[in-house]
């Protein structure tokens, strides 16, 4: 089962001072201007992961990012700085998006907004050029759960345990979805380059 609850953190008791701490405290006490500063600072990072998770749909990503920040505002008074604020916000965005994906349960359209893709070239192992646009397009075309696991594991650096908890699946299922996603990525990348 998906959960919107902020995951329990496993960070040690002593953590470096969070550079957001003053803004977060002020926003937690109702300072909307401080919260806007938080929004401006973290928007692009949050938007990137949400946009990828929903398969490159700008309108859905925008709605979900708005929902994420509204939920963050509501939850800020309870934030206890037991983890970095950016980590907390990022996980809130991911969980909000996964909840929406689950509610769609397979009704998701898979088209990608090509206009948004940046054509940044990166060489692949065979010397071919896999552009950022190629990668983004193929990620967006993956089945939603496989896509989510690939994004969270390979791009965002989550652990299988964390992904499994957020997606409400067994750790073994997370690994299997990653294997499936990577296989599809390879097949489709070869199709793009041929």
């Amino acid at each position: 089962m998906l959960s919107l609850a902020v995951p329990a953190e496993t960070t040690p008791a002593v953590i470096p001072r969070d550079e957001d701490v003053d803004l977060v405290r002020a926003a937690g006490q109702g300072d909307a201007r401080a919260f806007e500063s938080i929004y401006r600072k973290h928007l692009r990072r949050v938007y990137a992961v949400v946009w990828r998770l929903v398969g490159g749909h700008h309108a859905r990503a925008e709605d979900l990012v708005q929902e994420t920040f509204v939920r963050a505002w509501q939850a800020l008074p309870g934030f206890r700085f037991e983890s970095a604020f950016s980590t907390w916000l990022h996980r809130l965005a991911v969980n909000t998006t996964l909840m929406e994906l689950r509610s769609r349960s397979g009704a998701e359209a898979l088209e990608t907004d090509d206009a948004a893709l940046e054509w940044q070239a990166t060489p692949d192992s065979a010397g071919r050029i896999a552009t950022a646009a190629d990668l983004e397009k193929i990620i967006a075309s993956l089945p939603p759960r496989a896509r989510a696991v690939l994004i969270l594991y390979d791009i965002e650096g989550w652990k299988h345990e964390e992904i499994a908890a957020s997606l409400g699946m067994a750790i073994g299922s997370s690994k299997a979805q990653l294997h499936r996603a990577r296989s599809l990525m390879r097949t489709r990348l070869e199709g793009e380059s041929s």
């Binding site: 909307a32 692009r44 708005q66 509204v70 990668l135 390979d154 390879r186």
Partner: protein
């Protein structure tokens, strides 16, 4: 292409993207209402927590004195009952802020279950009026019910 090579390519993708429009106005329009809800909600929950803590402390203190002062049992029972009544009054006053608000249907079974739990705990307190533990359970149940209600109303 190996897993490592694929992952390396994926890691090169931009970690930040700019949305097509400014999302702040849509967010800001929802903040004042949340802020007022916040000012109603948190002091109440904090008050409940304080009441439960005090009750628990009182209860533990009495437990230590029990062998010597058994005649205080009835006084303790009265205080626990009084705390439960006060907690219930505060809870009902807080819930009145949300009266008439529609609740999402999937949430109804949970809310009903919490309501029934509160009734059961109050009955248990009436049967065993010296139990500070039950008072704490009542506080948790009310706090949970209020939090879910508030979340459902404010989205």
């Amino acid at each position: 292409m190996s897993d490592h090579q694929l992952r390396w390519q994926l890691r090169q993708l931009p970690r930040e993207l700019e949305p097509r429009r400014d999302l702040w106005p849509g967010i800001a329009s929802q903040l004042p209402a949340n802020n007022s809800a916040r000012s109603r909600r948190w002091p109440w929950i904090a008050g409940l927590a304080l009441a439960a803590s005090l009750s628990l402390a009182i209860g533990l203190g009495w437990r230590q004195m029990e062998p010597e002062i058994s005649t205080q049992d009835s006084l303790r029972a009265q205080l626990v009952q009084r705390e439960a009544d006060a907690m219930t009054r505060e809870y009902r006053a807080a819930m009145r802020h949300f009266s008439g608000a529609p609740m999402p249907e999937p949430l109804l079974p949970t809310l009903l279950s919490l309501d029934q739990s509160a009734i059961d705990i109050r009955q248990a307190i009436a049967d065993d009026p010296q139990s500070a533990f039950l008072l704490q359970q009542l506080q948790r149940t009310y706090a949970r019910r209020l939090t879910l209600t508030q979340r459902a109303v404010t989205g």
